[in-house]
């Protein structure tokens, strides 16, 4: 086993453990904090896969943005952050079975399937080549994303204006 592999398994174990904590923690704020660690672990995995830009995006958007949004959502919901809120319901056993069945299916199919195909051709994940692709080959998706973001902005305002009319 190379050093990289050792590091990979450590990071993967850390990420998985944090993900379990997200699902199993009793206090919903603890779940959100554990999610930060999961996102960090995923960013580290991206780094190990040479996808540095993706790792930066992961930290910027998920660690810095999504978790903040999540924490705000918890705090602006009355009393949900207080202790004693049930995070589980009676279907936890059933969903655990389903989750592990799907996981087993995905794992077996991926392990078998991707072994047949072999490793993918090496690609350049450098930020500069990503930027070039984005602005030449993928210019249509690039501009379409700006429309999508505009629609999202309009949506955010419509959702939040609700509160203002009540005040």
């Amino acid at each position: 086993m190379t050093v990289i592999q050792v590091v990979f398994f450590l990071v993967a174990a850390f990420t998985t453990a944090a993900a379990f904590l997200v699902v199993l923690a009793k206090n919903i704020v603890h779940c959100a904090i554990a999610l930060v660690f999961t996102f960090f672990g995923v960013a580290a995995l991206y780094v190990l896969l040479d996808a540095e830009f993706l790792a930066a995006v992961q930290v910027l958007l998920y660690v810095g943005g999504i978790t903040i949004l999540l924490l705000f959502a918890i705090m602006l919901t009355s009393r949900i952050s207080a202790r004693g809120v049930r995070v589980m319901n009676e279907q936890v056993g059933m969903s655990a079975v389903v989750v592990f069945a799907i996981f087993a299916l995905l794992a077996i199919a991926s392990l078998k399937g991707f072994a047949l195909v072999g490793s993918p051709p090496p690609a350049s994940y450098a930020t500069a080549s990503l930027g070039r692709l984005l602005l030449t080959t993928y210019v249509l998706p690039f501009e379409a994303v700006s429309i999508l973001l505009l629609a999202a902005m309009v949506g955010a305002i419509i959702l939040a204006r609700r509160e203002r009319e009540k005040d």
Binding site: G64, L76, G131, S146, A156, A160, E163
Partner: protein, 119 residues
């Protein structure tokens, strides 16, 4: 190449180690004489007012949502900035379209009072 991430790893380990060590040491070594005042929430010496678990205003949420949208915009700006030199005018025009559309979004948010705290 991964070697350049070694300092980051060391920093993360040091930071986590320092935080954990401080927590452990202060609970292991510090004397403990609890009283009612000591156990109350620390608010710079003033008696705490109300519960800490108050409900936040939805305005925070709006700000966070807008923050993420503009965060995504930055994700697209960064690789563009790296290669702007070689793309020339063409790259500049493309990004102007991208930013122009988002500027309309900003204008909309502004006009609708999304950036105002009090209404």
């Amino acid at each position: 190449m991964l070697l350049s991430y070694l300092p980051i790893l060391i920093l993360v380990l040091l930071a986590a180690g320092f935080a954990l060590a401080t927590l452990f040491l202060s609970s292991a070594l510090g004397p403990r004489r609890p009283s009612k005042d000591k156990l109350s929430t620390y608010e710079c010496g003033i008696d705490p007012v109300g519960s800490a678990r108050e409900r936040f205003s939805v305005k925070f949420y709006l700000v966070a949502m807008l923050f993420i949208i503009f965060d995504i915009e930055i994700v697209f700006l960064y690789p563009w900035a790296v290669i702007l030199n070689s793309l020339g005018l063409f790259g500049l025009v493309e990004m102007f379209f991208f930013l122009g559309i988002l500027l309309i979004g900003l204008l909309y948010v502004w006009k609708k009072g999304g950036l105002e705290w009090t209404t």
